[in-house]
């Protein structure tokens, strides 16, 4: 590759990625030489804001493919990057004031890891090639392992990190193994070429293609924590600090979903509306079964949880189950549905985690009782938390309801209509009412353990307020994001 070709690429389209990369480097150097954690935090926030600014200039930009189709920019990447960047920004805002003793004792900090993980996620979103896709995935995963384990004086953190790294690397290996089959069958690593080869595949080789797909898919489900690879989730969330848990449950999961959607929709020619590939037809049964199991397991096990992080871990498993439905029932608005749900999920879940973060720091405890009497201690925060929980439960007036409605609509309008999946979804949603309402009961009906008014850092209000606003706004005016998506 000579200099001329190198310069001929439209590098400006990668500006958000470069911004994150450079910020990450600056933050790590800053940490090395000055070790000022506050500064790291502000630098990271600034970097992500700048990346969002660069990204927003690309709205309605035409599709671009550079570096020999390994990096692609199209509307899908644009919209999903918004979720990754905004999610990370909100998490950074939520952590910035929280310098408890534990963070001070740990050398190094997690800001550049967070940025590295974000970069990994963004590369996953933009990859047009299996190799870069895998590289991005590993960047995301390895940074996440360290982030979970960074609280090294905490037993739960050590346990969680260990579990995470072992199961995570196993899953990566499985993915790679599956990809090797696909490579063997098609002789290419480019997603679009794979798609072309797969559609013209020899019928004798089809079983192999299906095997390759199943193995790859199973490996990838680890990231989105669906059954049967969900076991790590509660332990890891419990061990990780609350912001990291929020990152894993929102940003990392979003990246995982985009990855799966891309593999499925591009590589296996399950182009919505077009003739679907044979592999997809076989694979879709698997996805449907996993979706059903994930919804059932996540929602029923969550009923028994008292530890709030574990409860939200199971809740996030359940939401992963809902999100698999649009993939099992592909329609022309599946991607839109996934995107909207991830957007809503980002807002409501990060909002809930931010409230959780404040309370966990206030009580040094993760039991459900930290919510008791919250209405008397901070009515405004309680109302906001109520909105997040209502949204997670799918009560109308919130973005979560519209998200579920979209999924539901997709499931019933797909061909063939997935009545069973839709039925399981609404039934498990009703089950989820119980554990979300348990928290509401704690907040409104139980006497408070502490009576002092809750001190909420000013910047946390920014996160929580933003999430509340988004959750309500998109719940009442779903046309805003939906029109935005169909530029």
């Amino acid at each position: 590759m000579d200099l001329e070709t190198l310069l001929s690429f439209k590098w400006s389209i990668m500006a958000p990625e470069f911004t994150i990369l450079i910020t990450g480097v600056i933050v790590s150097l800053q940490d090395l030489f000055y070790g000022n954690k506050r500064l790291s935090s502000w630098l990271s926030i600034l970097g992500v804001l700048l990346a969002i600014a660069f990204l927003s200039t690309q709205y309605q930009h035409e599709s671009v493919s550079i570096l020999y189709d390994t990096y692609i920019f199209d509307e899908v990447t644009f919209f999903f990057k918004i979720i990754l960047l905004t999610g990370t920004l909100l998490i950074l805002l939520m952590t910035s004031p929280s310098w408890d003793e534990e963070t001070e004792r740990v050398r190094g900090d997690f800001h550049y890891l967070l940025l590295a993980a974000l970069l990994g996620g963004m590369i996953v979103v933009s990859s047009g090639d299996v190799i870069t896709l895998y590289a991005g995935l590993e960047l995301l995963s390895i940074s996440s392992y360290i982030m979970v384990g960074i609280r090294k004086y905490n037993r739960n953190a050590n346990e969680g990190a260990m579990k995470y790294i072992i199961t995570g690397s196993l899953a990566s290996a499985v993915t790679l193994f599956g990809l090797s089959y696909i490579y063997g069958l098609t002789g290419t690593t480019n997603l679009f070429d794979i798609s072309r080869e797969m559609s013209a595949i020899d019928t004798q080789l089809e079983p192999l293609a299906i095997l390759g797909f199943v193995i790859t898919f199973v490996g990838l489900t680890f990231k989105i924590s669906t059954v049967p690879f969900h076991m790590w989730t509660p332990d890891v969330y419990q061990g990780a600090s609350t912001p990291v848990a929020a990152f894993l449950s929102v940003v990392s999961k979003a990246a995982g979903f985009i990855l799966i959607a891309r593999m499925l929709i591009i590589a296996f020619t399950a182009e919505p509306g077009l003739e679907q590939g044979t592999v997809y037809e076989y694979g879709v049964g698997l996805i449907a079964v996993l979706a059903a199991l994930t919804m059932i397991v996540g929602n029923t096990v969550a009923l028994r949880q008292r530890n709030m992080k574990r409860l939200f871990a199971y809740s996030s498993i359940a939401h992963a189950g809902y999100l698999l439905i649009p993939l099992a029932a592909l329609t022309s608005f599946s991607l839109e549905t996934i995107w909207f749900y991830l957007l809503a999920y980002m807002l409501m879940n990060i909002g809930a985690f931010a409230v959780l973060h404040v309370l966990i720091q206030n009580h040094a405890n993760e039991d459900m009782s930290i919510f008791s009497g919250l209405y008397h201690r901070s009515p405004v925060l309680t109302v906001m938390m109520t909105i997040f929980l209502a949204s997670l439960a799918g009560i109308p007036g919130t973005a979560g309801f519209i998200g579920k409605f979209n999924i539901f609509l997709g499931a019933l309008s797909a061909d063939p209509a997935r009545y069973v999946l839709a039925g399981i979804m609404v039934a498990t949603t009703v089950i989820s009412y119980v554990y979300y309402f348990n928290i509401l009961v704690q907040m409104y009906s139980r006497p408070a353990e502490k009576h002092a008014n809750l001190q909420v850092p000013a910047i946390t209000w920014v996160t929580v307020g933003f999430c509340t606003l988004g959750t309500v706004l998109f719940g009442i005016f779903p046309n805003l994001p939906l029109q935005f998506f169909n530029w």
Binding site: I395, L412, V434
Partner: protein
């Protein structure tokens, strides 16, 4: 924002008013502001009534959102529209909510601010349900009533309040789950969520099996709310353990969403297919009527008697609908409104009674007449209205409902009459038990009668009951057009 939207969202004024009060304000002040907040929707509802009377049409329509699929667009608009039936229910809602605020004055001592906040959200949801003209919007508001009601039961109720609240949540959650499936299934077919548009689409569609499937789903969904017998156990608990002020709303308005939904979604959207279910509805109605009546006979708690009386009265609504003709529908609608008023009155009186005696156990009560003649007089009047004494709203509704059934399904009508007799027996048994006989308990000795402001809610409700009873046309002329549209689409 048109008048209708302003009306539907008018409880927000009360909500904001209450929220602005400081946390330490005394219950009295909170209640005063809650009352002001309650009067606003009430006044607006009567303004809406007079405007509707003049124009005979009141509607609003904004485009909301839509989905593009390969071949067509699925449209969901924000549509509110009134008709006589809806208007009657809206007037009932604002009236009962206001009276319930009055009733709660002595009842709700714990954290009144929060209580009224939830109450106004609940009112918002109920007004939205009755004003919306499309399935999606209906569901939107329908689900919105879930959270406030959960707390009103769970936080301010009696003994088993939390179990009851969760039971309420699960039953109604599953009911709405079925409702959502049915709504989406219809929506995808018709491409539009508007009631009228769905009706037009369904009249051109031949797939009868599909239509019956959807109607059965609606029947189950609204059967939970109404409730239809095997699905009723949550509602008895709510009647018994929720605070009486909340039960006024629950029995007076929330159960009516079931009846309204059944008529609007069944008769309103599938006028041709719905009559095929006449016999099913009649059977269910009979079971409700008789099962409720027999169980009401043997209860030893006044609240349980009234709870099963509600079950029984809902059977009459089902029977009326099963008539599938103008008289039957009119009877069902009259019964809906009439039962709303009567049960609100009954539970208002129960609230007053609990306040003074802290019990509703029939064995511990007696001789109420000697110390509180006005209260026991109202009890008797409410019971007479409930058992269908001519001159009161209950009679008109039952008469018309049975007229409808006898025309098409005389056998069911004949059996149903037994229920009417039982109704008289259980109501009189309970009321005579508490009013007459030997005076029991110390609480009764120094008990005060209904006085001053307490008379107002009871008086107003009774006045409406008698008005409808003596001059049924006051309600009937509102319903004419609605009834015509329900019946007009029926083939043959």
């Amino acid at each position: 924002m048109g008048l209708l939207s302003l009306f539907v969202f008018s409880p927000i004024v009360g909500l904001v008013l209450i929220s602005l009060l400081s946390n330490n304000s005394s219950p009295k002040i909170v209640q005063r502001y809650a009352l002001i907040g309650g009067f606003i929707p009430l006044i607006v509802s009567w303004i809406v009534y007079f405007i509707y009377q003049r124009n005979n049409r009141l509607a609003e329509n904004f485009s909301w959102f839509s989905y593009e699929t390969d071949s067509r667009t699925l449209v969901i608009d924000y549509e509110l529209e009134l008709n006589g039936f809806r208007l009657a229910l809206l007037l009932l809602t604002t009236l009962i909510v206001t009276l319930s605020i009055l009733a709660s004055v002595k009842d709700i001592k714990k954290n009144p601010k929060l209580f009224y906040q939830w109450l106004f959200i609940l009112e918002l949801g109920m007004l939205g349900v009755f004003a919306s003209d499309n399935m999606f919007l209906f569901f939107f508001f329908f689900e919105l009533t879930l959270i406030p009601m959960f707390f009103l039961i769970g936080k301010w109720g009696h003994v088993e309040r939390e179990e009851t609240a969760y039971k309420y949540l699960i039953y109604n959650g599953l009911g709405s789950a079925v409702l959502l499936i049915a709504i989406v299934a219809v929506f995808i077919q018709a491409g539009n969520a508007n009631f009228e548009a769905v009706k037009d689409y369904m009249s051109t569609m031949d797939d009868q099996a599909y239509q019956i499937g959807v109607i059965v789903a609606f029947l189950v969904a609204f059967g939970v709310k109404l409730p239809i017998v095997p699905l009723h156990s949550w509602m008895v608990n709510v009647h018994v353990y929720a605070p009486p002020a909340v039960v006024m709303i629950h029995a007076g308005v929330l159960l009516k969403i079931g009846a309204y939904g059944l008529l609007q979604f069944g008769a309103g959207m599938f006028p041709e297919t719905f009559p095929l279910l006449a016999v099913t509805l009649a059977v269910l109605g009979l079971i409700n009527l008789l099962y409720g009546a027999f169980l009401a006979l043997i209860q030893d708690d006044l609240r349980k008697v009234f709870a099963y009386a509600s079950v029984s009265h809902m059977g009459i609504i089902l029977l009326g609908i099963a008539g599938m003709n103008t008289a039957g529908y009119q009877g069902a609608i009259f019964q809906t409104i009439s039962h709303g008023l009567i049960s609100a009155l009954l539970f208002y009186l129960v609230g007053v009674l609990i306040n003074r005696t802290s019990t509703t156990n029939l064995e511990k009560l007696g001789g109420l007449w000697t110390t509180a003649p006005v209260l026991s007089g109202f009890f008797l009047a409410a019971a007479l209205a409930g058992l269908g004494l001519p001159g009161m709203s209950g009679f008109v509704s039952e008469f018309m409902a049975f007229l409808g059934v006898f025309e098409n399904l005389p056998v069911f009508g004949a059996i149903g009459i037994i229920g009417i007799i039982l109704t008289a027996v259980y109501f009189l048994r309970a009321i005579l038990n508490i009013s007459f006989g030997k005076r029991k308990g110390k609480a009764l000795d120094k008990m005060t009668d209904l006085r001053n402001l307490e008379l107002l809610p009871a008086g107003v409700l009774l006045a409406f009951i008698i008005l409808i009873g003596v001059y049924p046309d006051s309600l009937g002329q509102l319903l004419q057009i609605t009834l015509e549209t329900f019946v007009a689409g029926m083939g043959g």
